[in-house]
């Protein structure tokens, strides 16, 4: 499958974040924080040691320690501050823009 450039870019980038803590916000407003275990080319995300950000709204999710989230329902991924390498991102986006 040929990925749109931006999806490929995110995929490459998220792979670098494996093992770091991220917060994934779903399109149904559920936000889950956990250690990024893996991500695939469709941006499906597996988290470990998860916790729900808004526990009052989703109390039953407290129990979940690992989960698989479909890429298509991810709205945002909040990155750890130390996981953002601005130079690498700049480079990657410029290369993408040039169509490389």
């Amino acid at each position: 499958m040929l990925l749109p450039g931006f999806a490929m870019l995110f995929f490459s980038y998220f792979k670098e974040l494996v093992g770091k803590e991220v917060t994934v916000e779903l399109k149904n407003d559920l936000a889950i924080t956990g250690i990024l275990h893996s991500v695939d080319q469709y941006l499906n995300i597996k988290l470990e040691n998860t916790r729900v950000v808004d526990e009052a709204k989703y109390p039953h999710m407290l129990s979940v320690k690992n989960c698989f989230i479909r890429g298509s329902v991810v709205r945002y991924v909040q990155l750890p501050p130390d996981g953002v390498d601005v130079d690498i991102l700049h480079d990657a986006t410029r290369r993408e823009a040039r169509g490389a």
């Binding site: 129990s63 320690k65 698989f68």
Partner: protein
């Protein structure tokens, strides 16, 4: 496309689900003795869970006309739940997206009670609509199978990417000039001018008053 949870009341001669051969659907895993919990409803058990390359199918062991199906496109997340405060038994917790969320039917005539009964008793051979179910728990009697079951679900989910162009975009992309122009605010203003001009020419309201003449 994603259609959420639906009920099935037919099964193949071997007791398993009818497979969608068009989609080259294959059975990836069979888990016996699995209870199913839809939303806040009480557990229904026991049943057999079939994980296929396309869908999750749960078929009741007691009632051959009872079963539920959810395709992987609708299964938006799944997880292992082991906290007894959340649910008394270890289980797979999952969320389901029925496609058209906030379905009007359930919003408006939303009397939940009894909504499911008619489907089962009257509509043999047809498929019930459970698109209002957004949470599902699968409770295998053998709790040690949870890790494997979780992994199978991950693997099969990855086999089912969303069809291209189906993403509900926050930003809509335009691909050619016509599309862009047709969306420009007042893009058909030229036509309005013509209509207005015609109106001015022909509308009797704009003609000079001739009441005095006709009145005499």
């Amino acid at each position: 496309m994603a259609r959420g949870l639906v009920s099935v009341n037919e099964r193949s001669e071997d007791g398993g689900p009818f497979l969608e051969t068009v989609n080259e659907e294959r059975i990836a895993h069979v888990q016996p003795s699995v209870g199913i919990v839809l939303g806040e409803s009480p557990a229904e058990q026991p049943g057999t869970l079939y994980v296929t390359t396309r869908r999750l199918v749960w078929l009741s062991d007691e009632d051959v006309h009872k079963g539920y199906v959810v395709d992987f496109l609708s299964l938006t997340m799944h997880a292992i739940s082991r906290d007894e405060d959340a649910y008394p038994q270890p289980c797979i917790y999952s969320q389901i997206d029925g496609g058209e969320d906030e379905d009007e039917e359930y919003e408006e005539d939303g009397t939940d009670d009894g909504a499911e009964e008619p489907l089962e008793s009257e509509n043999h051979g047809s498929v019930g609509d459970f698109s209002h179910v957004t949470e599902m728990r699968l409770v295998p009697r053998d709790a040690s199978s949870l890790d494997h079951l979780f992994q199978v679900l991950c693997d099969c989910a990855a086999l089912n990417p969303d069809p291209e162009g189906e993403q509900e975009g926050e930003g809509d992309w335009f691909f050619n000039e016509d599309e862009v122009m047709s969306n420009v605010i007042g893009g058909d203003r030229a036509n309005n001018h013509v209509d207005l001009a015609e109106l001015l020419m022909q509308d009797p309201r704009f003609e000079d008053a001739d009441e005095e003449e006709s009145g005499t």
